[in-house]
């Protein structure tokens, strides 16, 4: 077998200053694409929630630049971009062409992720690709805003294999016409596509500046070296981890189709020298609902977990991924086969996959984290706005509590690890859509306690202002709890309930609407005056509750986040409520026992 030089044997040929300059230029380019996208797109998914990612690939079809966008999308670009280019054929590309696909079976995460890719030509040769992957709110299919209890790909929406959507700088009208004819919000889809493609042109100009200034050869070499630097750093990190096999598993509570059937994700980290294999063998078969992960989603989740375990100053690019191999058995929950559904795999299975892997890391490292809230809180609303007569589709996302970690409590109300989306301001949502938010605040009390406790989730109550609002959901952790680490307590559950106008009792979709699941369902119809309550899970705890600094327990009590009873029951800390001080003697006495004993 021919010997190819390993990363450690290869030398970086670019001058270290130029390398830093070009690397920064590429990152800035991605950020610039993001700014343009945010400012020009139509959907709140982009301009408020920022659910898109901009990347630059080199002529070798490998990532050389990215910026802090959405981790799930970034990881999948590593696979979907080369797949899409290969299918069209790089030799069939011309300057001004733009490739478009959203096909989950071609390594994309799920249908709503629209991927556009533009080759950058220099003297007839492709030196780079600029790409934008963005979550389109509505993609047709059986529910507004894409998330529900689908059982196959046709219910999920319109699917585009890789096609050219621009040819030589001109729109391909047929593609746009087919797209806008198959979605609920054609104006948004058109405007958003234009914004996405506009960002590619901007990025291409920036890359051309680099090539003009430093020359094509230097640019190409620099791209190689940028990747090599990250690969070396990544391998050095992996080498520090003890060789071995580290197993963990966790479940998704249901698939929205079969009640009460759990689906297991099993993972083994295999560490050998400076290589890491993430092996999902032993995972359950693919489910009947939309919780399945595509290979792109699974690989992305694996990269996501690993990158959370390495220092944040490693430049993120293709070099980071080279030492990582992913094994995902075809037809399993983590490598869906056609025509099974998969829209929720990217939103709610991905976080559980990451939490399973972080649990596996905790077998040898204390730098891992307890599980986070494990759901994106995807709830879709659709209907016709009575004020304007317009059809709308809105995807609601929600923050969760993050898990406790070795150095701090988990953050409150933060988007789960697969994404990095902002909440939509109440004043923006209410100006656009016919429903109110009666409350949106933290959910005190319910949290995974621990030496470092989880962060708190949120509660939000909606009231609908018009009839015929279709509500669909793909949310998780209604039954299963995020797991604590090192004796920390498990996190709290999601709650998603409804109350018809005039009723007093809150009921779940399962209790009142005949659905198979509390969290995964399609098209419940809400009318004027009806209400919906959504509580997101907290993070889980890290470390024994009795090791928590009593001063932190007191602060949580002062902040009205836990009760004095919680302080005593979970932490063995006795607070004298009238004086607001800790009763040290009583605390010492309680803490002489073990947590939960009292």
């Amino acid at each position: 077998m021919e010997h190819t030089a390993t990363a450690n044997e290869q030398e970086i040929k670019t001058d270290p200053f130029l390398l830093e300059i070009i690397r920064n230029h590429l990152i800035t380019t991605c950020k610039e694409m993001g700014i343009a996208m945010m400012r020009t797109s139509y959907s709140p998914m982009f301009n408020e929630a920022l659910d898109f990612s901009c990347v630059v690939f080199d002529g070798e079809e490998e990532m050389v630049g990215q910026a802090p966008f959405v981790p799930a999308q970034i990881g999948s670009t590593v696979h979907v971009i080369p797949t899409a280019i290969a299918e069209i054929g790089a030799e069939n590309l011309e300057p001004g062409d733009v490739i478009f696909t959203n096909d989950p079976y071609r390594s994309n995460c799920h249908l709503p992720e629209f991927v556009v890719i533009k080759p950058y030509f220099h003297e007839g040769e492709i030196l780079a690709y600029t790409s934008n992957i963005a979550h389109m709110t509505d993609v047709g299919g059986m529910v507004p805003a894409a998330f529900g209890d689908h059982q196959n790909i046709w219910q999920e929406g319109i699917r585009f294999p890789p096609v050219k959507i621009y040819e030589r700088d001109q729109e391909v009208p047929a593609i746009f016409k087919i797209l806008v004819s198959n979605v609920r919000t054609p104006r948004h889809s058109y405007g958003d596509m234009k914004a996405m493609i506009g960002s590619l042109y901007l990025a291409e100009r920036r890359i051309a500046e680099l090539v003009e200034r430093y020359g094509a050869d230097t640019f190409v070499q620099c791209c190689r070296d940028i990747k090599l630097v990250s690969e070396k750093l990544m391998r050095a990190e992996i080498s520090r981890w003890p060789d071995g096999e580290y197993q963990a598993d966790g479940v998704l509570e249901d698939d929205g189709v079969v009640p009460d059937r759990e689906w297991k994700i099993n993972a083994t980290l295999v560490i050998r020298g400076d290589e890491l294999i993430v092996d999902f063998t032993g995972t359950d078969e693919q489910c009947f609902g939309p919780g399945n992960q595509t290979f792109g989603t699974t690989a992305s989740a694996a990269y996501n977990a690993v990158l959370h375990m390495v220092p944040t100053d490693i430049p993120y690019n293709h070099g980071c991924y080279r030492p990582i191999s992913v094994i995902a058995p075809p037809g399993s929950y983590v490598n869906v086969s056609y025509p099974a559904a998969c829209v929720g795999g990217n939103s709610d299975s991905h976080p559980t996959t990451v939490d399973v892997l972080l649990q596996a890391f905790s077998r040898f490292s204390d730098k891992s984290s307890a599980a986070d809230g494990g759901t994106c809180g995807c709830i879709g609303f659709g209907g016709t706005d009575p004020a304007t007569g317009e059809i709308y589709a809105h995807l609601h996302l929600e923050g969760v509590g993050w898990g406790g970690r070795d150095d701090a409590d988990g953050n409150d109300c933060q988007f789960v690890k697969n994404g990095n989306c902002a909440n939509t301001p109440v004043e923006v949502a209410e100006t656009r859509y016919p429903f109110l938010n009666l409350e949106y605040q933290l959910e005190p009390g319910a949290v995974g306690h621990g030496r470092h406790r989880g962060g708190f989730g949120t509660r939000r109550t909606f009231r609908f202002l018009s009839d015929g609002v279709h509500v669909s959901s793909h949310t998780h952790r209604h039954r299963v709890r995020g797991w604590g680490l090192f004796d920390g307590e498990d996190g709290s559950n999601s709650v998603l309930t409804f109350r018809r106008k005039g009723e007093t009792e809150w009921v779940t979709a399962r209790q009142a609407f005949g659905k198979a699941s509390e969290g995964k369902f399609s098209n419940i119809v809400m009318n004027e005056g009806d209400e919906m309550l959504f509580i997101t899970p907290s993070g889980a705890g890290y470390g024994s509750t009795f090791e928590r600094d009593p001063a932190l327990v007191l602060t949580d009590w002062q902040d009205e986040l836990i009760s004095a009873q919680d302080a005593r029951d979970h932490y063995g800390v006795v607070i004298d409520e009238p004086s607001g001080a800790i009763d040290q003697a009583a605390t010492d006495e309680l803490r002489a026992g073990s947590p939960g004993a009292g």
């Binding site: 020009t40 996501n304 933290l442």
Partner: protein, 675 residues
């Protein structure tokens, strides 16, 4: 009483620029700042500038007190009243994180603990109608509890949709005044009548947080000024406009970017005076680099900035963006052998190694010292001795790791620092939809003129302007600034439902506020009023501002605005959507009043000066040092031309002219450099 004085208090120095309106005499002075009692340095600068305070008719102060209060978190204990059900808004923020793979990031805390965030029963809807009336009985007991709990000094009130109907916020203030007259109050619809509740609440909380301390500071400064016989005291705001100290005390959040706005306003003034057109103002000091675009010499403004990640201030501010790059930025080599510069800084203490105050880590200034680019003989009255061997000793370990020469390494440090600044500028430019090639870079701050030419080359900018006193440019700007107030009101209006009566009502109401404020500021004449509306395609979420005419507006004025919008959209983003409907979101009025004009002193022309000396400077480490002429800035006369390579030294900065650049001294003493 013929002097106008501008004083800018910075982190290290307090600068004075003063101007005698009768004689045209200019004074400049620089003293060390006195952070404990900032006004001490202010008065010290008058003394050093040989300015009798009784001679000062008009004094404008640019201050970092507000900024420092926030950075050091030394403001007041604040309570926040929100709509019931939304008390955690400060803790929840916008749910995002700055680095997508960082397991150890801790979300920044805002300025109010949860225990002092109080939900008040009330609720307005998007159209300003009342869903839930204000529960005054409960509110009274909530206010009383806060009062009786002690410790709280200021109250921020931010209710949902208060910009659509402020009644509940106003009534809340009445109740606070009745029950607890000592408390300082900030109402969100007064601070920022714009939608997006987190940004508005955050800004309002910061206003309340600053109020007691800024009130103390400005009250005592007013007193000192009045005792010293100074005519009028004005404060420079974040929007580059001046306001009376009394006004500043009521809205301290408007002072948070007071410092940077001075330099930007000075650049604007020079750009207009010299007809330079499009400018980039670049301020590089010891620890930070701030840049602002000025298309057509008019500053760009923003209405969103962050104190730190997730803690926004959403007022109209000069859009000066900061990155951690300055003379004190540290150079390091990472595990993969790549050179990084900043954002860590050696700061003022110990500072760069060559300052010989105990610093041993290599900084950008040390790299410049190794390359021979500094001119220490001109520095602050010669009191700063540069320790060149210390600079070399700091750079050498890095050179060893990289396997490169000391000079090559130093040049690399400077190149990477320049590139960091260039990247920051690119982001600003994209955000504003501009291509800065062909613009003029106005370089100031202690380190700006040293890096300006190479930075300009990195950005493909052809011309650099180094003002006469680059180290006191912000004070100069304070002196020149007009009175400016910005008024804004969110009101959602689709163009197909255009309501010109409502539009006229909104503009009139904003203009009434403006006229009232100018009367309070003691203006006899009405200010100039500029109207704009923020528009977007229906369904978009971010707006572009377009101007609107004065007087009664009609439907055809909105047609013109729509055309302007399309042009702006094309320029910013490269496309428009034909036939798409537009909507207006926010109505704005800016009021500007000018008190004085300034006649800048002119420089005599004469015989071109001789270099004071020649010395070796490295511009290209591959080619070795180049013999370079050193000039004193004082010796330059109007019309002097200097070819690079050259070094021009002066008290407050060193200007570096690389080979193939050409500097010309204009009639005001500015250096205009073709790079």
């Amino acid at each position: 009483m013929t002097f106008r004085a501008g004083v800018d208090t910075g982190g290290t120095f307090t600068d004075l620029v003063a101007y005698d309106e009768e004689t045209g005499d200019f004074r400049m002075a620089k003293v060390l700042s006195t952070p404990d009692t900032p006004s001490r340095a202010v008065f010290a600068s008058f003394t050093k500038g040989e300015l009798d305070t009784r001679e000062i008719a008009y004094f404008v102060h640019g201050t970092t007190v507000a900024t420092n209060t926030l950075i050091e978190r030394e403001g007041a204990e604040v309570a926040l009243l929100t709509t019931d059900g939304f008390r955690d808004i400060l803790r929840m923020q916008r749910v995002t994180r700055p680095d997508h793979f960082d397991l150890h990031w801790i979300k920044p805390k805002h300025f109010v603990p949860r225990s002092r965030c109080v939900g008040v029963v009330e609720r307005m809807l998007r159209d300003g109608s009342v869903l839930t009336p204000l529960d005054e009985k409960q509110l009274r007991s909530q206010i009383t509890s806060l009062r009786d709990a002690n410790g709280t000094a200021a109250i921020a009130v931010s209710y949902l949709f208060s910009f659509a109907n402020p009644d509940h916020e106003l009534r809340t203030r009445e109740l606070i005044e009745e029950l607890w007259p000592e408390a300082q109050v900030s109402l969100s619809h007064e601070v920022l009548p714009r939608w997006r509740e987190y940004e508005r609440t955050s800004t309002t909380v910061i206003d309340a947080y600053l109020k007691p301390r800024m009130d103390d500071y400005l009250a005592s400064l007013e007193k000192e000024c009045s005792e010293g016989g100074i005519g009028q005291l004005f404060i420079l705001g974040s929007n580059g406009g001046v306001m009376s100290a009394a006004k500043a005390r009521t809205r301290p959040v408007a002072l948070v970017r007071s410092g940077p706005s001075g330099g930007v306003m000075a650049a604007s003034h020079l750009g207009k005076l010299l007809g330079l057109g499009d400018l980039i103002a670049a301020d590089m000091g010891g620890t930070s680099f701030e840049a602002c675009l000025l298309p057509g010499s008019a500053p760009a403004f923003t209405n969103l900035d962050e104190l730190e990640y997730g803690v926004p201030i959403a007022l109209t501010m000069v859009d000066a963006r900061a990155i951690g790059a300055g003379g004190g930025s540290l150079a390091t080599v990472d595990a993969a052998g790549i050179l990084k510069v900043g954002p860590q800084s050696a700061g003022a203490d110990p500072g760069p190694a060559c300052y010989a105050r105990g610093g041993t880590e290599p900084t950008v200034t040390d790299a410049n010292a190794v390359l021979g680019r500094l001119a220490p003989e001109f520095s602050l009255a010669g009191d700063l001795e540069l320790d060149f061997p210390a600079a070399a000793a700091a750079v050498d370990p890095l050179a060893g790791v990289l396997g490169l020469s000391r000079e090559r390494t130093s040049q690399g440090i400077v190149d990477v620092a320049n590139n960091n600044m260039a990247q920051a500028l690119r982001l600003v430019s994209t955000d504003r939809g501009h291509d800065p090639r062909g613009w003029t870079l106005v370089a100031y701050g202690g380190a700006g003129p040293l890096h300006a030419c190479e930075l300009a080359r990195a950005l493909q900018i052809g011309q650099v302007l180094v003002p006469t006193y680059p180290g006191a440019f912000s004070a100069f700007g304070a002196l020149l600034s007009d009175t400016r107030f910005d008024y804004t009101q969110t009101h959602w209006m689709r163009m197909r439902d255009l309501d010109t009566d409502k539009a006229n009502e909104l503009f009139s109401a904003l203009e009434r506020q403006a006229l009232e404020a100018f009367r309070h500021e003691g203006f006899e004449e009405a200010p100039q009023l500029f109207r704009s509306i923020d528009m977007r395609y229906v369904g978009q979420n971010w707006e572009l501002s377009v101007s609107m005419p004065a007087g009664e507006v009609s439907a055809s004025d909105f047609d013109v605005a729509a055309k302007l919008f399309e042009e702006e959209h094309e320029r910013f983003y490269g496309y428009t959507i034909q036939g798409e409907e537009l909507e207006a979101l926010t109505f704005n009025v800016t009021a500007v009043g000018t008190r004085h004009s300034v006649e800048l002193p002119r420089l005599e022309s004469g015989k071109a000066p001789e270099p004071l000396q020649r010395r070796d400077v490295v511009f290209d480490a591959g080619g070795g040092p180049v013999e370079t002429a050193v000039y004193g800035r004082d010796s330059l006369v109007a019309g002097t031309e200097i070819e690079g390579p050259a070094v021009v030294g002066q008290v407050d900065a060193t200007t570096l002219l690389p080979p193939q650049s050409l500097a010309r001294v204009d009639e005001y003493g500015n250096l205009l450099i073709t790079v």
